[in-house]
C-alpha cells in the first residue's frame, strides 16, 4: 500500500457503440483520496467512463486498474468501487435501513451487525430517524443521502458519483455540495464525480478532467482549468470567456493565434477617461444586464467583435449603465490566455507580412 499507486489508472480506454466512439483513448491516473471530477457536456463520454470503471460496460479496448490491480474483465460485483446513481436507484420494496444494509447482506454479514452498521451510516447522513421509511416516502435530498449511505457503508476504495445532485433544486444542491465535500474528507476515500455543471466541479474538486467528444480536453486543478484553459472548448465550456480568433487577435493584441480573456478580467470606463491596463480598445455599450452582485456589460468593439465584461457592483463601480454610450475597455497581458498559436509556433510578437 504505497501512496504513489494511483487509485484508478485508465490506459488507452476506448468504448464504441456502433461506429461511435463514446470514449476515445482515455489515459488517466486518479490519486488515492482525491476528489476528482469529470466535467463535460452530455454525450462527451464522462458517464461512459464512470460506467466502465464501475463495470456496467465492457471497454472496446484499453485497461482499468484499481490500486494496481487490473479489473478490466471483472464483473461490477467483483470490484471494490461503489456508485451513487443519478436517479439514486434505491430499491423501492425495501425500507431505508434494508437499502443501506443491502451491500452488507449480500456479503454475508449477520443481521445484527449489518443493521448496526447501516444505522451508523444513516446517522452520518443525518437520517437516523428515517430507517423504517420506504424510499417513496422521502424527499429528493433525503433519497440522495440514503444512496450515499448505501454506497459508503461497504467501505469501497473508490466512490463513483454520477451527477448525484442533478435532480435537486439549487438551494439543496449547494447544501449537498458542502455535505459531499465533508463526507469525502471524513471518509478519506477517492471520489470520482461526474457532472455537467462547471460551477459544481470548480467548487468541489481537487482536480478536474474536462471531457469533449470522448477525449480528455484538459486535466488540472480548478484554478488551472479556469485561469488557463488550454483550448477554445474548455474556455467556452468552463465559465464565460471572450474568445478572440486569429483576425481579432491581430487587431486587438497585435499577434496571431486564438486567445481568450475572462469577463471579470476586463475593466471598462467611459471614453476618454484613463484606464489602468496594458492594452485598451474602444467600443460601444450594447447591453447592460444586472445580475445582483455584479453587472454584465456587452460591448461592441470597433475592431468588429463583441466582448462581455463583468463588473462587481461594489462601492467603486462607475455608472456605465446607458446603452449606446462610447466606452473604453482594457486588460492586462497576464490575463490573456493563448488557446492555440498559429502554426508554426511560437508566434508571440512575430512580425507579419
Amino acid at each position: 500500500m504505497t501512496g504513489a499507486q494511483p487509485a484508478i489508472r485508465l490506459t488507452g480506454l476506448t468504448k464504441s457503440f456502433g461506429n461511435v466512439n463514446a470514449v476515445d483513448g482515455v489515459d488517466l491516473d486518479i490519486v488515492e483520496g482525491e476528489f476528482f471530477s469529470m466535467l463535460g457536456p452530455s454525450g462527451s463520454g464522462k458517464t461512459t467512463v464512470l460506467r466502465l470503471i464501475a463495470g456496467f460496460e465492457k471497454p472496446t479496448s484499453g485497461t482499468i486498474s484499481l490500486l494496481g490491480q487490473d479489473v478490466t474483465d471483472r464483473a461490477p460485483f467483483d470490484r471494490d468501487v461503489n456508485t451513487v446513481f443519478q436517479d439514486y436507484a434505491l430499491f423501492p420494496h425495501m425500507s431505508v435501513l434494508d437499502n443501506v444494509a443491502y451491500g452488507l447482506r449480500v456479503r454475508g454479514v449477520s443481521k445484527r451487525a449489518r443493521y448496526e452498521q447501516a444505522r451508523q451510516a444513516l446517522d452520518t447522513v443525518r437520517l437516523g430517524s428515517f430507517v423504517d421509511r420506504k424510499p417513496s416516502q422521502l424527499s429528493g435530498g433525503q433519497r440522495q443521502r440514503v444512496a450515499l449511505a448505501r454506497a459508503t457503508v461497504v467501505q469501497p476504495k473508490v466512490l463513483l458519483l454520477d451527477e448525484p445532485l442533478g435532480a435537486l433544486d439549487l438551494k439543496l444542491r449547494e447544501q449537498m455540495q458542502v455535505e459531499l465535500k465533508e463526507l469525502q474528507r471524513n471518509l478519506g476515500i477517492t471520489f470520482i464525480f461526474v457532472t455537467h455543471d462547471q460551477q459544481e466541479a470548480l467548487t468541489l474538486s481537487d482536480r478536474i478532467a474536462v471531457f469533449n467528444e470522448g477525449k480528455i480536453e484538459q486535466l488540472g486543478t480548478p484554478a488551472e482549468i479556469y485561469e488557463r484553459p488550454s483550448s477554445p472548448f474548455v474556455a467556452a465550456f468552463v465559465g464565460t470567456s471572450n474568445i478572440f480568433d486569429d483576425t481579432v487577435s491581430h487587431a486587438l493584441l497585435g499577434r496571431a493565434g486564438t486567445h481568450s480573456v475572462r469577463p471579470e478580467k476586463v475593466s471598462v470606463t467611459t471614453e476618454n477617461r484613463p484606464l489602468a491596463a496594458d492594452c485598451t480598445a474602444a467600443g460601444t455599450l450594447a447591453e447592460v444586464i444586472y445580475v445582483g452582485s455584479s453587472t454584465q456589460l456587452i460591448v461592441d468593439l470597433d475592431a468588429g467583435t463583441r466582448v462581455v465584461v463583468l463588473e462587481q457592483n461594489d462601492a467603486h463601480r462607475v455608472a456605465t449603465t446607458e446603452r449606446g454610450v462610447r466606452v473604453t475597455i482594457g486588460w492586462n497581458n497576464s490575463d490573456i490566455v493563448t488557446l492555440s498559436a498559429p502554426a508554426p509556433a511560437p508566434a508571440i510578437l512575430a512580425p507579419h507580412p
Binding site: 456508485t83 430499491f91 443491502y102
Partner: protein, 266 residues
Amino acid sequence: MRLSRSARGLLAAITAVVLALIYLPLLVVFVNSFSTSQNLTWPPPGFTLGWWAKAFQSDGALDAVLTSLQVALASTAVALVLGTLISLGLQRFEFFGRDAISLLVILPIALPGIVTGIALNNAFRTGLGVQLSILTLIIAHATFCIVTVFNNVIARLRRLGTSLEDASSDLGAGIWTTFRLVTFPQLRSALFAGGLLAFALSFDEIIVTTFTAGSSVKTLPLWILDNLFRPNQAPVVNVIAVVLVLVSIIPIYFAQRIAGAEKVVR
C-alpha cells in the same frame, strides 16, 4: 369536466344497457340453477335446490373441475417460468435475432385456436409419435399461456430499466442474488397478473383442448359442452356455471387490491 343534464342522462342509460347486457344473462343462469324446469323454460315454473345437490354428487362434473384445475395450474406454472426467462433474455440482453424471437413468442395468442390445435395434434401424434394425454394438453395450453406472462413481465422490465439491477450488482450481489432480492420482488405483481390471465385462458379453453387432450381427459369446458344438450343435465351445467362465476370473482378481487396498493406506494 361538466356535462349537460341530458348528456349525463344519456351516458347513464348507455352504461346501464351495457352492464345489463353483460350481467342479466348471468343472472338468468343463476336463477335457472334453482329452476324446477329441466329444459330451462322462462320464467321458471318453480324453485328447487335439487340441481345443486345433484351437481355436487356428480362425479363427472367434479372430475372435470379437478382436471381443468390441474391443467390450468400446470400450464400456468410452465408459463410463469418460461415466460419470465424469455422476457429477461429478450429485455436484458442483446443478440442476433432478438426481434424475430420476440415476434415468434407473441404469435401463438394471435393464431386461430383451430390452427394451433390441428398443428399440435399432428406434431404430437405423427411427428413425435406421442399418445395424447393430459401432458400434451398442458404443453398445448402453455404455448399461449406463456404469451400473457411474457407481455406482463416484459412491460414491467421495460418500465423498471436496469438501474436497480446495476445498483444491486454494484453493491456486490451476483446475478442470482440480484434476481432473488431485487428483480423478482419488482416483478411479483406482473407475474401475478400474467399468471391469473394465463390460468383463466387455460381454464375455459375448448378448441385447442379438443385437439390435444387424450380421449380420457375431460376438462370442464368439454364436460359442459357434452352435457348442455343432454336431457336432465342442463340445470346441473347452470349450477357449475354459477360456482365458476363465484370462484373467479375471488382472484379478480385480489388482483384489484394488489393493483390498488401499488398505486398508493408509487
